[in-house]
């Protein structure tokens, strides 16, 4: 029996995922690290199917900080795909590598646990995502409409490279979930 791919059963927006993916490509991203979560399923598949992008599937999101830092010092643009608990799992790397050495990171974070979240286990992380980003002085912006995705991602990357620091784009339920 073949098990259908999870992505076919879930109402994750393919069109929004495509808009985000195209925006990353337009920014010249060549390496994408990822640790899957539901909302990222199409984005990860798009990276996997793209011969011009190296997808790096991680065991833990913090590795992505090291990979992006290495890529940056080597002159290659990268992005990180994770959920907010993956961001929380990456904090030591963000502080002890990205901040300490002034390394830009383009973090695409699915913002679980905000208004509309039905899964109880996401609510604690959702509630502290913004205060933790603020405490770390990481500039962030939400992505909630397909129309502004490309511009916000490009501007985020511009700021990251000018300030030499991590930036976060928060993917919201309104953008990613079709129910």
């Amino acid at each position: 029996m073949t098990v259908p791919r999870a992505e076919q059963q879930l109402p994750v927006s393919v069109s929004s995922s495509q808009v985000i993916y195209d925006a990353l490509k337009a920014c010249g991203v060549e390496i994408i690290s990822a640790l899957p979560e539901t909302w990222l399923v199409h984005l990860i598949r798009m990276a996997e199917d793209d011969p011009d992008v190296q997808l790096v599937r991680l065991a833990k999101e913090e590795e992505g900080v090291g990979i992006s830092a290495g890529a940056h010092l080597a002159g290659v643009k990268s992005a990180m795909l994770m959920q907010n608990h993956g961001f929380l799992a990456s904090i030591n790397g963000i502080v002890g590598l990205a901040h300490l050495y002034k390394i830009p990171l383009l973090m695409i974070i699915s913002y679980r646990g905000e208004f509309g979240e039905p899964d109880p286990w996401q609510t604690q992380g959702g509630g502290i995502t913004l205060p933790v980003l603020d405490a770390l002085q990481i500039p962030w912006v939400v992505l909630d409409e397909p129309e502004h995705v490309a511009q916000r991602i490009a501007k985020a990357q511009t700021l990251a490279n000018a300030a030499l620091k991590p930036v976060a784009l928060l993917l919201t339920r309104d953008l990613m979930w079709e129910d």
Binding site: I31, V56, G66, I67, S68, G70, A71, L97
Partner: protein, 193 residues
């Protein structure tokens, strides 16, 4: 084998501009700088565990370069999952050298789990790293290091070293200076080619 002597024995190999070195913090970084800093050396002075991930990022970004990571047992133990990621993408241009002194020597020498039998080579092998070895003496280390560079295959080399470190850890080289010198060096190499 002393780690300092091991680093010294292979130092001239690291003078090749196409070799890029990433080290962990503490003793390894201070010892390598004592032997002689070079623009192709980057010392990750915090973020324990991520030196190998940085090595992977550089190796994937720049396949024409040979990347050498000098890791430590305590640092690898903080990112064992990273070995599975290395193995998954197995960049042929990455040599992952783990100096195993069975200790967190840079913070006072607390014994790690390798002192009670955990086998980092075994963990790397079973994670899927295609070439692995454990060596004890200097001659064996130099031979294994040269083989790792020549192999054109991802290698994790565990070098058993004594629990000794330098007298101090802070050097003259500012972290930020190291970072920009290193990235500029990699940029220049690309522009020359």
């Amino acid at each position: 084998m002393q780690r300092y002597a091991a680093l010294k024995a292979i130092y001239e190999r690291l003078e090749d501009d196409n070799i890029v070195v990433v080290t962990i913090m503490g003793a390894v970084s201070a010892e390598l700088q004592d032997i002689g800093h070079r623009p192709n050396f980057f010392y990750l002075q915090h973020a324990m565990g991520l030196a190998s991930s940085m090595g992977l990022g550089i190796a994937l970004a720049r396949p024409e370069l040979q990347v050498v990571v000098f890791d430590g047992d305590g640092s690898v133990l903080m990112n064992l999952g990273g070995l599975t990621t290395l193995a998954r993408y197995r960049p042929p241009n990455l040599a992952h050298i783990v100096f195993d002194n069975e200790s967190l020597v840079s913070v006072g020498g607390f014994p790690t789990a390798t002192s009670t039998g955990s086998d980092l080579e075994g963990i790397a092998r079973e994670a899927g790293v295609p070439r692995t070895a454990t060596v004890e003496g200097i001659d064996a280390f130099v031979t294994a290091f040269d083989e790792a560079l020549a192999a054109d295959e991802l290698t994790t080399l565990v070098a058993k070293v004594t629990t000794e470190g330098p007298a101090g850890y802070v050097t003259d080289l500012a972290l930020i200076e190291n970072r920009f010198q290193f990235s500029r060096h990699l940029k220049n190499l690309r522009e020359q080619s």
